[in-house]
């Protein structure tokens, strides 16, 4: 049975990202993730929050980003929510990494990192709220 273990709300400012990373590392360690898995989840959540702040809120600093951690039997699930512009992955083609590198793209690597650093990554929009759910299993291989 999942239970909400931690909750953090930050203003939509990139200066808050270091705080998010510190919290996620504490939560992951408390949840029993290995150092490598905790660091992977920390980075994936950082990318999700940065996307919310920079793209969903587009530079507005009066938005809010909620970060919630749910402890499950075999995993830690972190959900990042915001009420900025929704991101619908169905409407976006995530370019192949080789293409992005060949074209010297500056943006878009965060999504790849989120995918590679988590065991499960889901996007959902409900009403005005968009969320990204990032799952890291204990002893996961990602």
């Amino acid at each position: 049975m999942a239970r909400c273990t931690h909750h953090l709300t930050i203003p939509s400012r990139t200066s808050q990202l270091a705080r998010v990373r510190r919290c996620v590392m504490e939560w992951a360690t408390e949840a029993g993730l290995s150092d490598a898995d905790a660091q992977a989840l920390q980075m994936a959540v950082d990318e999700a929050c940065a996307n919310a702040i920079e793209h969903a809120y587009g530079g507005r600093t009066d938005g809010r980003v909620e970060v919630e951690a749910m402890m499950k039997r075999d995993a830690l699930v972190v959900t990042v929510r915001h009420k900025g512009e929704p991101f619908d992955p169905k409407l976006h083609t995530i370019s192949a990494l080789t293409t992005m590198r060949d074209q010297r793209r500056i943006h878009g690597y965060g999504l790849h990192l989120m995918q590679r650093l988590t065991d499960d990554l889901r996007f959902r929009t409900k009403g005005k709220t968009s969320e990204v759910r990032l799952t890291k299993r204990r002893n996961g291989s990602a």
């Binding site: 990202l17 990373r21 980075m43 940065a50 702040i53 590198r101 943006h107």
Partner: protein
């Protein structure tokens, strides 16, 4: 408050200058602008043989990687390069996950990175 800083040093190999940027702290979406400004200052000053020294860089996100990507092409077109040295394993892992070692010379020591400019000249 920013937990990131960049400082500059000048070295040389084969009588030509190589500029070393020492990165310290956490390079993320908040601090990437400082790194971008540092690289822009180098380019504006005509410095295109650059080594980014990452021994004290504790964290990098995609925003930091994007800064490398934003400058590498123009610096190479100007005859220079950005070489990367002494990354901590955690930071190197991020470059590696995205295949950036295919694009950048990433070496273990600053000396090796500086010497690569000399060997590139003589190649």
């Amino acid at each position: 408050m920013s937990n990131f800083s960049v400082s500059f040093r000048e070295r040389s190999t084969d009588g030509l200058p190589v500029h070393v940027l020492d990165l310290t702290g956490e390079l993320d979406a908040h601090t990437a602008g400082e790194f971008e400004a540092a690289l822009q200052n180098c380019v504006d000053a005509g410095h295109t043989r650059l080594v980014v020294h990452g021994r004290d860089l504790q964290y990098i996100s995609s925003a930091g990687l994007g800064v490398f990507m934003a400058f590498v092409e123009s610096i190479r077109e100007a005859g220079g390069d950005i070489k990367i040295a002494a990354l901590q394993p955690r930071v190197f892992n991020v470059f590696d996950l995205l295949g950036f070692p295919l694009l950048f010379q990433i070496v273990e020591t600053e000396d090796e990175a500086v010497e690569r400019f000399a060997s590139a000249e003589s190649a």
